[in-house]
Amino acid sequence: MDNDNRVLTRMGARELTEQEVETVTGAFKTRRTLTPCFVDSKQQLLNGDQAIGECGP
């Protein structure tokens, strides 16, 4: 990652491997996908404690 003009929060972000993403993907298959930070890269979805509507204008 080129850090020259990235935001500080991106620099501190946690990198999840493809395997880790798979672990938290797949609806109820893993029984953990209601957690406060559920990344579903297949569906391009971040489902967490904050809702999209909450952050809008």
């Binding site: 990652m1 850090n3 003009n5 990235r6 935001v7 500080l8 929060t9 991106r10 620099m11 501190g12 972000a13 946690r14 990198e15 999840l16 491997t17 493809e18 880790e20 993403v21 798979e22 672990t23 938290v24 609806a27 109820f28 893993t30 029984r31 953990r32 996908t33 209601l34 957690t35 406060p36 930070c37 559920f38 990344v39 579903d40 890269s41 297949k42 569906q43 391009q44 979805l45 971040l46 489902n47 967490g48 404690d49 904050q50 809702a51 999209i52 509507g53 909450e54 952050c55 809008g56 204008p57």
Partner: protein, 364 residues
Amino acid sequence: MKLIVLAPEDDNHTAPIKWAMEKAGQKVVCWAGLSWSEEGQSSLLMNGDDTLVLGGHSVDAGDVIWIRRPEPPVPNPKVSESDKKFAALEYRSFYHSIAYFLETLPVWCINRYSAARVMIQKAVQMRLASKCGLKTPATLMSNHPATVREFFARQNSRNICKGFTPHVWQKEGKMSVAITETFELGADQLPNDEVLTYAPAIYQERVPKEFDIRMVLMGNHIYSYALKNKKQALDWRQDAGLGHVTAELVPTPPDVEKGVLEFARQSGLCFGSLDFGVDAEGKWWFLEINEQGQFLWIDQFNRDARLLEKFCAFVTSPQGSTLPLEARQDLFPSLEEYEELLKREQVPPTARGRTDDPFLSMEA
């Protein structure tokens, strides 16, 4: 009485709760939010006998409105290019009218939209929590480099950095992602001043926590769960997703309970998920509240929690009831039962994809 849920039916909390309520004979309808399509249309008539209709469902006295996660308003895409901006603003204004109007009706809103809009602001949360007697860490929200450096120069301080909102960065063509997380940051790790202006951030005294608490507030009822992970990570959220966390019911200290109930009273919130850190001396530090935070995952980690049943008991109790939810939770089926049906595909799947997720960016 019926429960009107402002969220898509396949939202991962809405679907099991709707199913459980219906199994217990309760009426539940969903409205995903304002949109041009027939199911998204709404009418608000003020003509002596005021009425509000959401996607064909009338809002009646005594109804409970769970403003879970409505979709942002969707204008008709066929509208002229010249009118798109105007139409979008009109949709947004009408949605706000609906959301605030609900508070004026003889219904119970979980939560009132005005309270929710104020209390999602982390600065407001921290200040009110402190005012209500809850212990809060020193916090700076800033994009002013000199002030950030000054904050980090406090003697013997250890600090963390976190964002206001979650975000995911996905590498083009890959499955791996980077996700925002609270991280420790030393004064010597601060980037150059310009970077500190790229995005404001929250800088905070690091709570010397031994473990985390996820608390669920339902009216006058508080349920606290100790979250422990072997890695003792600063931010447990991803570890929860990876299954490295346990959730154990713990008693809430009386002073914390008193503070939280006062916080709820002053904020106007009757429902929410709160995060605390507990230090070696057993002191509970308030970190944040998400008024529509996820809570059913605790049932997945601890089958005795039965938060799905408790939530159903909560929304079918009279507003402000102090009777224990446990007394009525047996009226409702469990999340485990729902999950079994889901596995056998006897209930529809949850969490459909979005093609335009504002929390997700692509990067090279």
